[in-house]
């Protein structure tokens, strides 16, 4: 494998309004450090892709942003969200996760009906009003581009849906909480091209109202949908720039090698 100098990096200077930013994040699984001082800023209402080889730490980094690494890994550094360091141990993590939603690589709907999948967390958060619940179910399914397909079978089991539909249901379930930020960890990697393109359309629509950070192995996908792209290598951020620039004129040799397939 080629070796690259981790100090040779490029991070774009951004000064628009930020949805979330990390300041010198370090993550270790026991003695094994997976992310090295990573400082990135994510602008509001944009789509940001995280790319990099398998094991480069994309998921690890993403999961820090809504504290899903609690109990799994030690995370040092600051994560600023609305002027609060949400990596502080005193932060109410449940509140954080309501504002910063997450969708995983493998669809994981609950073994409940489609409607209950969406209503469940809402009810647990004290929303009891039937009209409000119905409205949220419809809105979120519309936004996830699933409404037309399931509106007549809301009370059947979610497990009877196809993989692609299940994944859009998971997105709907997340956005029903009205989050500010949506974290997606390879949401389309287990899906066929048609489902994938549906999810891409959904993500682009969603970014009108929220910020999306998406991990992907698919470089066409990154270049199709995202505004900014961050390239990770062995736990280090190597390059963070506008997507167009990263894919046309990468500034760092490692990035160039990776996107041209001449890597390792």
């Amino acid at each position: 494998m080629k070796t690259y100098d981790f100090d040779d990096k490029y991070i774009i200077n951004l000064d628009s309004e930020m949805a979330i930013e990390t300041d010198n994040i370090q993550v270790s699984y026991g003695k094994n450090q997976a992310i090295f001082n990573t400082s990135l800023k994510f602008p509001r209402f944009k789509i940001i892709s995280l790319i990099g080889a398998s094991g480069s730490g994309k998921s690890t980094y993403l999961r820090c942003l809504n504290r899903m690494n609690d109990k799994i890994a030690t995370v040092d550094g600051k994560i600023m969200y609305r002027n609060v360091d949400i990596n502080d141990p005193k932060t109410n993590v449940y509140e954080v996760r309501k504002h910063i939603g997450m969708v995983f690589q493998r669809p994981n709907p609950f073994s409940k009906s489609i409607r209950e999948n969406i209503e469940f967390a809402l009810k647990e958060n004290g929303i009891r009003d039937k009209n409000e619940l119905d409205e949220r179910v419809e809105m979120s399914l519309q936004d996830a581009a699933l409404w037309e397909e399931v509106k007549d079978e809301l009370d059947t089991s979610a497990l009877a849906l196809s993989g692609g539909q299940q994944q859009r249901l998971c997105i709907a379930r997340s956005i029903a909480m009205k989050p500010d930020i949506l974290l997606l960890d390879e949401p389309a990697s287990a899906l066929d091209p048609i489902s994938t393109s549906k999810i891409e359309d959904t993500v682009q629509l969603l970014s009108k109202n929220l910020t999306v950070i998406i991990v992907t192995h698919n470089m066409q996908q990154a270049s199709r949908i995202s505004d900014y792209t961050a390239f990770f290598h062995m736990g280090h951020i190597i390059e963070y720039n506008e997507t167009r620039k990263i894919f046309t004129k990468p500034k760092i040799k490692a990035t160039d090698d990776y996107i041209s397939g001449d890597f390792g």
């Binding site: 996760r97 997450m102 994981n108 009877a160």
Partner: protein, 295 residues
């Protein structure tokens, strides 16, 4: 040897062994049923046992067995549930957990006679509970707890970790996620385990002889005051169960029809346990289908 031939021989041996096991089982159950079922009739199921004359029934023993089972489950299920949830969801991989697991394993391999004698010394004598349904239920709890805990832990572990992540990522607490998502999903497995363990509890005799006692004093099935010694619901009364009754009839009964009573009782016991086992499969499958909407 030729691999194909080895394979053939191995398969042959496996089939033979399986066939032998099934044959023994069918023979045993068949023997008990063929001998016992002719002795079962309405009178047998609904009348009191007789000490000296023929024509006694098993009404009280049958009820005692069921009542004892219910009490045992009331005591052991919450404990096993708590322990199972702790082990599956909260326990860290460390020496404390190792000790807990080893203890459960040791407890599960304890012979039931030992559990019974322990119950006799501790509950009946030391704690002055006498031969009573409660003493029996607590002894059966010791006997039931390890397997039930293990079963619940395994059922919870078989729920994919992704389900827990889904709940947590929606801002739910661990506890909410476990109780409202993981446990319902594990329910078919848990229920199957509970019913199967019910069968074991129902057929247990050794742990009860010295705890629930060997006598079935006559009780009134219309007296609902559980504090009244003659009430059928009083947990402090001695209670001979069906399994104990079979043992006793075979060792010391003087009634002329002892053999028929023993055969009939055995058949009833086996039938109830079969119902439990088949019921466990049926209910487990049914709930699973309902939950997953597998079409």
């Amino acid at each position: 040897m030729h691999p194909k031939r080895t394979d053939k021989i191995a398969t042959g041996i496996i089939y033979t062994v399986v066939f032998a096991v099934v044959a023994i089982l069918v023979f045993l159950i068949g023997y008990i049923l063929v001998n016992g079922v002719p002795d079962i009739n309405w009178h047998f199921l609904t009348s009191q046992a007789q000490s000296f004359s023929a024509g006694g029934g098993i009404r009280d023993q049958l009820f005692n067995s069921l009542y004892l089972l219910v009490l045992t489950l009331i005591i052991s299920f919450p404990i096993a549930m708590g322990a199972g949830i702790y082990l599956a969801e909260y326990a860290k991989d460390n020496w404390i957990t190792d000790i807990i697991r080893t203890s459960i394993e040791v407890l599960s391999s304890l012979p039931s006679v030992v559990v019974g004698l322990f119950g006799y010394l501790l509950l009946v004598n030391q704690l002055n509970m006498g031969f009573s349904i409660l003493s029996g239920a607590i002894a059966l709890t010791f006997f039931n707890l390890p397997l039930l805990t293990r079963n619940i832990e395994e059922s919870l572990n078989s729920v994919p970790g992704l389900q827990k992540e889904a709940g947590i990522s929606l801002g739910l607490s661990d506890w909410k996620t476990i109780t409202k998502i993981i446990v319902p999903e594990a329910l078919p497995g848990i229920l199957t385990g509970v019913i199967l363990s019910s069968g074991r509890v129902f057929g247990e005799a050794a742990a009860l002889i010295y705890t629930a006692g060997q006598s079935a004093p006559s009780v009134s099935y219309t007296n609902w005051n559980i504090f009244d010694p003659s009430s059928f619901l009083n947990p402090m009364r001695p209670a001979e169960t069906l399994a104990v009754h079979i043992w006793k009839v075979n060792t010391e009964a003087v009634t002329p029809d002892a053999h028929a009573i023993s055969s009939g009782s055995s058949a009833v016991l086996i039938i109830v346990i079969l119902i439990f086992n088949l019921g466990a499969r049926f209910i487990g499958n049914h709930i699973y289908k309902k939950m997953t909407a597998a079409k």
